[in-house]
């Protein structure tokens, strides 16, 4: 399978076409086609993963070569077994007689992503049969899900940067289509457009980054670019610029500050889409890019040196600003959306501080527990709140009516909050430990602060949704099996998934299988640090404790009630957060509004009143000159004076008369004649 990996994205692509053209005629309206295709992709992904793992395990013991080379990147004595990625290419396009390929590059990172994407996609496909039942565009929804899965898998297996860009934009297209799934309402299509534009801003960076890395390494191949970035001859300046541009792409796609504003709006799409695209897979494409071309970032941002770099800083800022906004949301999906932004911040920061394995591991665990939380929120809304997502108005007390949804959501919350032994604990802790170890102490504190906030806002979310009195107007009940089934599976992964890389137990399989050994910088892997783990666990529990105290006791302790109404500072902070730091005002009203409004209008005014007016004036001028020549020069002077050669002058005047009478063909003829005369002159005087 590892050699035929192209099949993995190809199957859902075929399914997309089939559903698009024949879906409505299928008994289950296309859903069965989508599930079968993604199921097949999932099986093939598992096969590929097993084959890759076997390769890695086989290679253990055959220590050969050095896995990193280049300036200062070789750690002395670091000899590792090299397992090369499996790459297959066919010609895609050519230029200057050089052929460029398209193909698959399968390694640990790719198989890990294949597994995550196809699994979550499969579960979302199943979940949607119940959740989207009776939707007005059910078949279209499944077609779009298939296209998304195909594009995302294509992005994952991409062997070169152009292919990556293709997958990257196609998942953006699917995101656009699915956010705007209910496009009858203006708010939904606005959200879809906003998502597309904002990520396109980031794509400027991605495109230029690809261009720069191409001209630096003279190849689009990912392995080639990585090899160049680690080589002695690599141009550090080019790598700085290239890495910065690529980072802009990551910022756009992975919801990093300051381009994160589209992600909460993207919640306008159906909930399964939010789980799949806007939590588990598409939004991590940016992180995946960072992991894929890591040597470029490693070189460009000098990640091995510690201190502060742009990547870590962007990630760190995003952790905090995302988590802060999650506190003031009443919409459960928006809480989760800001939480996703914040968690993506952990991943980007992890890459920025040299915690490659930890960041990718967090991507892995986050996909499960965040998909779980979104699907749980969808379940609560679908069966408990009449399709509303407002926790304050329509939820509350659902714990009693929806036990499976409640328990699985709780597991997801604990995993997200980083409580031992759930999945999020292992991955988040690993990021923090590596940050502290690699000279990035500041980011260790940022991560800890984020951990407190995460635990607290999730406690608020669980409290508002599942505790207290039911505030909705329906009759809440548990969701059908098609919904609870995926929740249980994801809950299982969220609960125990972290043990694949639980270093205190001596298990580091995730690192062994996923971390590249071929053209990759020699990163440090600090040992498990019990003290730091204890601290991160303590702060998470602290966050839960504070929030629980506030929410559960609020009614009893008067001082806590209505705090934001009474305290000016608290109120100001609250307003600032509710308005999302006023970034949306800046982007939508100030920047987009002025380009779309006054700047575009001004440009068009210039077009009509300056440039086009000049053209018209030339025309009018020519007619005036013609009339003058005919009336004054021709008729009164020439014609009157020299009757003998009247024929000739008649012709000349005629030329000008045709201009005003608009007989264009004859005008053209005479103009050619004039040009002929001019050229004759050229001959004579040459």
């Amino acid at each position: 399978m590892i050699d035929y990996a192209w099949l993995i994205p190809f199957i859902p692509a075929v399914s997309f076409v089939a559903i698009l053209f024949f879906g409505k005629r299928m008994p289950k309206k296309g859903a069965e086609m989508g599930i079968a295709a993604v199921g097949a992709s999932f099986v093939l992904s598992c096969v590929a993963a097993v084959q890759w793992i076997n390769r890695v395990e086989d290679a253990t013991g055959h220590k050969q070569g050095i896995r990193a080379f280049g300036k200062g990147l070789v750690s002395v004595g670091a000899e590792h077994e090299v397992v090369k990625p499996v790459i297959h290419n066919v010609t895609w396009w050519q230029n200057g007689l050089v052929k460029f390929g398209v193909g698959t590059q399968i390694d640990g990172l790719a198989v890990m992503m294949l597994f995550v994407v196809s699994l979550v996609s499969l579960l979302v496909h199943v979940y949607s049969t119940a959740y989207m039942k009776g939707d007005r565009r059910f078949t279209f929804f499944y077609a779009a899900l298939s296209l998304f899965t195909a594009s995302m898998l294509m992005l994952v297996v991409a062997s070169n940067t152009i292919q990556l860009l293709v997958g990257w934009e196609l998942v953006g297209l699917c995101s656009f289509m699915l956010i705007g799934h209910w496009w009858e309402e203006g708010a939904n299509s606005d959200a879809a457009l906003k998502a597309f534009f904002t990520t396109r801003i980031g794509d400027i960076g991605l495109m230029i980054g690809i261009i720069i890395t191409f001209f630096a390494a003279r190849t689009f191949s990912i392995v080639g670019i990585n090899g160049y970035a680690l080589s002695h001859g690599a141009d550090h300046t080019l790598m700085i610029v290239g890495a910065s541009c690529l980072l802009i792409g990551i910022i756009g796609k992975s919801g990093q500050f300051p381009l994160h504003t589209w992600l909460p709006d993207a919640m306008a799409g159906p909930t399964p889409v939010s789980a799949l695209i806007h939590a588990a897979t598409m939004v991590v494409a940016g992180v995946y890019l960072g992991a894929r071309l890591y040597p470029v970032f490693y070189n460009g941002f000098s990640i091995g040196d510690g201190g502060v770099n742009a990547m870590a800083l962007i990630g760190g800022i995003t952790i905090i600003i995302g988590a802060a906004l999650a506190f003031v949301q009443d919409d459960i999906k928006k809480v989760l959306a800001y939480s996703t932004i914040s968690q993506l911040g952990y991943m980007v920061m992890g890459l920025g501080v040299g915690a490659w394995v930890a960041a990718v591991f967090h991507l892995f665990t986050h996909a499960f527990f965040k998909a779980l939380l979104f699907l749980g929120a969808g379940s609560a809304s679908h069966s408990g709140a009449h399709h509303s997502f407002d926790m304050k108005k329509d939820m509350g007390g659902l714990r009693k009516y929806m036990p499976i949804t409640y328990v699985t959501f709780l597991i997801g919350t604990l995993a997200l909050a980083g409580i031992f032994p759930f999945a999020g604990f292992w991955s988040k802790d690993e990021i923090l430990v590596t940050a502290g170890h690699g000279g990035y102490t500041f980011f260790l504190y940022v991560g800890l602060a984020g951990a407190v906030m995460t635990a607290a806002y999730m406690t608020r979310c669980v409290y508002l949704t599942f505790f207290g009195e039911y505030r909705g107007h329906g009759e809440p009940h548990e969701s059908p099996r098609a919904i609870t089934g995926p929740l249980i599976i994801l809950a299982a992964f969220s609960a125990v998934g972290g043990f694949i890389n639980a270093s205190p137990f001596g298990i580091e399989k995730f690192k062994d299988w996923v971390e590249p050994t071929f053209v990759f910088p020699a990163l440090v892997h600090p040992d498990f640090d019990y003290a730091k783990a204890a601290i991160s666990l303590t702060v998470a529990l602290l966050g839960i404790g504070i929030a629980a105290y506030y929410f559960f006791r609020r009614e009893e302790i008067g001082a806590l009630k209505g705090l934001t109404q009474r305290n000016t500072a608290a109120h100001a902070g609250y307003t600032f957060l509710v308005n999302k730091y006023y970034l949306d005002v800046l982007y939508t009203d100030v920047i987009v509004g002025s380009i779309k409004g006054s700047i575009a209008r001004a440009a068009y005014w210039v077009n009509q009143n300056v440039i086009d007016r000049t053209v018209d004036l030339v025309g009018i001028g020519a007619r005036r000159v013609g009339r003058f020549t005919y009336d004054v020069v021709d008729q009164r002077v020439v014609d009157a004076a020299v009757n003998g050669i009247a024929d000739t002058t008649g012709e000349a005047g005629g030329l000008l008369r045709y201009v005003q009478s608009g007989r264009v063909q004859r005008y053209a003829l005479t103009l050619f004649a004039a040009v002929g005369l001019l050229s004759l002159a050229l001959v004579l005087f040459n």
Binding site: G96, S189, F196, I595, A600, V664
Partner: protein, 522 residues
């Protein structure tokens, strides 16, 4: 198959004349016969094109090869009937043939007022002669005649079948382009008189020639740079007005707004390409030094066009005028690629021309169909197309995505390599200048997403406006399906398998660029 090779290009160019003659002989009342003859003619022409496509030598796409014809023609001015086709011209020739066929199919039941299929179809066939001929000509005079031949039918199409302001638009179109052509002709004559070619190479052993191949081989030999630049100026104006480049573009929105649907499609899909093709075929290889001197300025106008065209789009309330302005932006990418004088840039330009022809042609078709159904193109009055005519709505969405350069569809391969090429222009051209252009062009892609998606949102999303509520809107007609299917399929196929086109153009492009860098010594 020798007979075919020898006559293929002549057939490709002049078959439509035969069809036109037959159409003119059929009485006006017999509309069915007229339509059938016109369609058959265009199909036969396309068949010749497909014949050429199958017998073309893709491994040596720079050579004119077996289809080359070189006969004496107007000896007194040393102009010859020299036709030939290489990997740059071939895709455009096929595009021109294909677009003609789909335009005739699309018109089948919707001839614009004042109806008269006989005149309309005869003009389309005449137009095809000019378009096909321009892409085949290898002699400057021959090229000029074909280049000018397209003006007349288009002038009448706009002037007779156009919208309310058709007279103004058609005369403006004609005079504006003619103005450029006149200067272009002057430059052709100047090339003839100033460039010395070895006597043993020309057919009549004269040391001056209009032969484009020989002139390109001479590469402006013997001309001082000021003369080269001056001659280039004439060529530039002739071609830049046709493209059209900022600030010579103002004829375009008016012509498009007033032209009948099919006229707009032909104008956007083929006529604009005559200008960009002229740059690649004539201006660059024949005057390489001047091209290099002019490159930063052409690049500047190109990126201004990208941004300016996009802003113009954002200010529009008329769907068709918006698409017209988008052409200014898209052709900016093509010209940016050409201005880099690199293989990446010129390949991107060729791809961009074909992609723009398919995609913008489709967008104009859709605008026409929308207008036919709603009797308006005003964006404020449209909305909810997807609820009333879902298939048409989705096709609009598809084409908008293709037009904004979505990877996986044809538009991407004209846009991305053009931006890429600007990072590293040919030797002797300022890197810094072009890298600034690169960033500006990349920003233009965001604006493109802006105006196209806003248009899509206003036309297709939401619910129908009150005046159309409950109105019966017919979704796709059969003639629309037949006409559009090949274009839609090609947009996908070329997007997924770009080497179908790059494989064709690359050899020829590499030859042209290689010839230039040999002259420029870089």
């Amino acid at each position: 198959m020798n007979w075919f090779d020898e006559s293929a290009l002549t057939l490709a160019v002049f078959t439509p004349v035969v069809g036109m003659a037959i159409v003119l002989l059929i009485p006006k009342a017999n509309e069915q016969a007229i339509k059938v003859v016109a369609l058959l003619t265009s199909l036969v022409t396309l068949g010749v094109g497909i014949g050429i496509l199958t017998r073309f030598d893709y491994d040596h796409s720079a050579r004119l090869g077996k289809f080359e014809v070189d006969n004496s023609w107007i000896d007194v001015i040393h102009s010859r009937y020299h036709m030939g086709i290489d990997g740059i011209a071939l895709p455009l020739l096929i595009l021109s043939m294909l677009i003609t066929v789909v335009c005739i199919i699309y018109s089948w039941n919707h001839f614009p007022e004042p109806h008269n299929p006989k005149g309309f179809l005869a003009l389309i066939l005449l137009l095809e002669v000019g378009m096909n001929g321009t892409f085949c000509a290898q002699d400057l005079i021959l090229f000029f005649i074909f280049f000018e031949l397209v003006l007349l039918p288009m002038f009448f199409m706009i002037g007779v079948w156009g919208g309310p302001n058709r007279e103004y638009a058609s005369i403006k179109f004609f005079l504006f382009t003619l103005f450029g052509s006149a200067l272009m002709l002057l430059s052709f004559l100047a090339l003839f008189f100033t460039v010395d070619v070895p006597r043993n190479l020309t057919a009549d052993h004269f040391n001056h020639t209009f032969d484009m191949v020989l002139l390109a081989r001479a590469g402006g030999a013997g001309l001082v740079s000021s003369t080269q630049n001056l001659i280039f100026a004439g060529l530039f104006l002739g071609f830049a007005i046709k493209v059209p480049m900022f600030p010579f573009h103002t004829w375009l929105p008016d012509a498009h707004t007033e032209a009948p649907t099919v006229g707009s499609v032909l104008l956007a899909a083929i006529l604009l390409k005559l200008g960009t093709y002229g740059f690649i075929r004539i201006a660059l290889p024949i005057l390489p030094h001047a091209a290099r001197d002019w490159a930063p300025w052409i690049g500047l106008l190109a990126v201004i066009g990208i941004i300016y065209g996009a802003l113009g789009c954002l200010a529009q309330r008329d769907m068709k005028r918006l698409i017209a302005f988008s052409s200014v932006a898209h052709m900016g990418f093509v010209m940016l690629g050409i201005a880099t004088l690199t293989t990446f840039g010129v390949n991107a330009a060729v791809f961009g021309m074909v992609a723009h022809g398919l995609i913008t042609g489709m967008l104009f078709f859709i605008a026409g169909s929308v207008q036919e159904r709603f009797e308006t193109r005003q964006l404020d009055r449209l909305g909810g197309l997807l609820t009333q005519a879902p298939k048409l709505g989705w096709i609009l969405g598809f084409c908008a995505m293709a037009s904004l350069g979505l990877p996986g569809l044809a538009g991407f391969w004209g846009e991305f390599p053009a931006i890429l090429s600007a990072y590293n222009p040919a030797a002797g051209i300022s890197d810094i200048t072009f890298r600034v252009y690169m960033v500006v062009a990349a920003i233009g892609t965001v604006l493109a997403a802006g105006y196209l998606l806003w248009m899509l949102q206003r036309v297709a999303f939401g619910t129908p406006k009150a005046e159309w509520e409950g109105a019966h809107i017919h979704d796709m007609h059969v003639s629309e399906w037949i006409a559009w299917a090949p274009l839609l399929a090609l947009i996908v196929v070329l997007g997924v398998f770009p080497n179908l086109l790059f494989g064709m153009s690359d050899g020829a492009v590499t030859h042209v660029v290689g010839g230039m860098s040999k002259v420029l010594g870089g």
